[in-house]
């Protein structure tokens, strides 16, 4: 649904995006991750037809972003970094205007406004002037405007920025509800957002693609060691030595109340660990696998601490 090939964008001598290729399947939600000035906004602007790329190809909903810009623009809903609002309009008038310029047929305009207002929870402020509504409502209105023409592809640039925790949760629910019917690409700094909302991520840094793929695939691919966290009733230091003697276990260390065991990622030593616990009656309370969190993954990739 969204595809880029060797995308490059230069501002004069400054390279904002370089050799960026990724693909997002229809009906999925993908996150675009990266530190500030990584090229996230530039990439989104290219996809929405706001900026032309210097070279490379990009297509959205099967149309070429450069050759068939008008078709692409009809299929895209876009929330830019600064929510594009006219403060002197009412919420309803604004959505009406957006519906018109997005070429929603006149007889469907009212229904489109109603639907957008309802899905984003704007009913309470519908008749108010935009300059008088709170930031949370403005952000929602920004999303409502991106949804109004029921586009196939929705591109959201930092949709939860500046919201309070309750609002963030609401917006995430809203974005999740778009899965299936719409293809969503969102950029964010908040890594938890990605785990909660996205099917896959594209991680970029300094304009270059660092990693792209489904979350599960990436966390597996980038894991160096496999292992478990253990919580035991009996937690004396001698216990660590017991585990160290197990074949394959490379590391056994205490981390707070838990014990962290590591082994090569091609091995699985969980059965042996459990046997050991039973034999020595260590009182196993909990065992969970040492999966790479998105934070670890991100830091490793962006700070270059890992090679695939």
């Amino acid at each position: 649904m969204i595809e880029t090939q060797h995308l490059q964008k230069k501002y004069g001598d400054l390279i904002a995006v370089e050799d960026l290729s990724f693909k997002v399947e229809a009906g999925e939600i993908w996150g675009l991750l990266g530190p500030n000035a990584a090229g996230k906004t530039t990439t989104m602007r290219i996809l929405t037809g706001y900026l032309p790329a210097t070279s490379g190809k990009a297509s959205v909903a099967g149309y070429d972003v450069f050759e068939q810009a008008e078709e692409v623009k009809k299929e895209i809903g876009y929330l830019p970094e600064t929510v594009p609002l006219y403060p002197e309009m009412t919420v309803e008038a604004y959505l009406g205007f957006v519906a018109e310029i997005k070429q929603v047929p006149k007889n469907q305009k009212k229904a489109a406004i109603d639907r957008a207002v309802e899905t984003t929870g704007l009913t309470a402020v519908r008749k108010r002037l935009i300059k008088n509504i709170s930031r949370g409502y403005r952000q929602r209105l920004g999303i409502a405007q991106a949804l109004i023409h029921n586009p196939k592809v929705i591109i959201l640039d930092e949709p939860t920025i500046g919201l309070d925790p309750a609002q963030i949760v609401e917006i995430r629910q809203l974005i999740k509800s778009l899965r299936g019917e719409h293809t969503v690409l969102l950029s964010t700094h908040i890594l938890a957002e990605v785990t909660q909302v996205c099917d896959g991520v594209v991680i970029i840094n300094e304009g270059k693609l660092m990693a792209a793929g489904r979350l599960a695939e990436l966390t597996t691919a980038y894991r160096e060691k496999d292992g478990v966290y253990l919580k035991l009733k009996k937690a004396e230091d001698e216990v660590l030595n017991l585990f160290r003697q197990l074949p394959g276990v490379e590391k056994a260390v205490r981390e707070g109340e838990e014990i962290r065991l590591e082994w090569d990622r091609n091995l699985d030593r969980r059965d042996e660990v459990i046997k050991c616990c039973l034999e020595h009656q260590l009182g196993l309370i909990e065992m969970r696998s040492l999966a790479l969190t998105i934070e670890e993954l991100y830091l490793r990739i962006v700070s270059g601490g890992i090679e695939q």
């Binding site: 501002y11 706001y50 032309p52 006219y86 309009m89 310029i101």
Partner: protein, 255 residues
């Protein structure tokens, strides 16, 4: 056309929900009312005196003595006011980030420019229409010639259209409305004084400078002479402004 209309509607809504259009129209009406009042008072006091002399009696002409100077005064007022009308058209969108919405919508750049420009023309039209109301009373209490009166207003409208075309261009250059207004005003002033310079110029330059000046073309219209050169001049001026706007927006996005 439907797309252009939605831009027009939105621009008019912005003009009339913020104080800007009201203040500009109010000030324009105040000044035009004042000019009209002082000219007509002067005319009323001088006409009876002139009537006593058979030679001057022939010269009494409300078109020449009231309308023509009125239109000239109003043209200067327009020069001062219209940059304030056009300054926000693109600057504000840029500053508020709303241009990203406009330029990622399926509308073409031309449709957006034309919509915005037409909206400002509508405000100009309303302004001129309202200012004509007091002047129409002279038709009840006297018998001025209609054609020069209409041509005068046509001239004001065309000149305003040219001013706005230039204003749209300058507002596409900057995100600062003040900068946009000052640049527009400066350029208009420059075109205004071109005719002064032309008096001291020689040969072909005199003709060129004269042709370029806004007010040379306006003069003949206020005197009731309709010349297509004047029409072409103002329309091409406006068109040129819009064309430059298109190039600016286009090139900015390709940079």
């Amino acid at each position: 056309m439907k797309a252009v209309w939605s831009i027009i509607k939105k621009e008019l809504l912005t003009y009339f929900t913020s104080p800007i259009a009201y203040i500009i129209i109010f000030t324009f009406l105040l000044l035009s009312g004042f000019f009209f009042y002082s000219l007509i008072s002067w005319f009323n006091s001088i006409a009876p005196q002139m009537a006593q002399n058979p030679y001057y009696y022939q010269q009494i002409n409300i078109n020449q003595m009231v309308f023509s100077p009125l239109f000239n005064n109003l043209s200067i007022v327009l020069m001062l006011m219209l940059p304030l009308l056009s300054m926000r058209l693109f600057s504000e969108e840029k500053k508020m980030g709303t241009e990203e919405l406009l330029f990622t919508s399926p509308l073409s750049i031309t449709q957006i420019i034309v919509g915005k420009y037409l909206a400002s023309l509508i405000v100009l039209f309303i302004m001129l229409l309202l200012s004509a109301i007091p002047v129409l009373f002279t038709f009840i209490y006297g018998n001025p010639e209609t054609v020069p009166f209409l041509l005068g207003y046509l001239g004001l409208f065309l000149m305003g259209a040219a001013f706005l075309g230039l204003g749209v261009f300058w507002s596409s250059i900057t995100e600062n409305q003040i900068v946009s207004a000052v640049l527009t005003f400066g350029t208009l002033l420059l075109f205004w004084v071109l005719s002064w310079v032309s008096y001291s110029a020689h040969g072909i330059w005199q003709g060129v400078l004269n042709y370029l000046s806004f007010f040379e073309h306006f003069d003949s219209l206020t005197r009731g002479i309709f010349d297509t050169t004047d029409l072409v001049y103002y329309l091409s001026f406006a068109f040129f402004g819009l064309f430059l706007t298109h190039s600016v927006i286009q090139s900015r996005r390709w940079r």
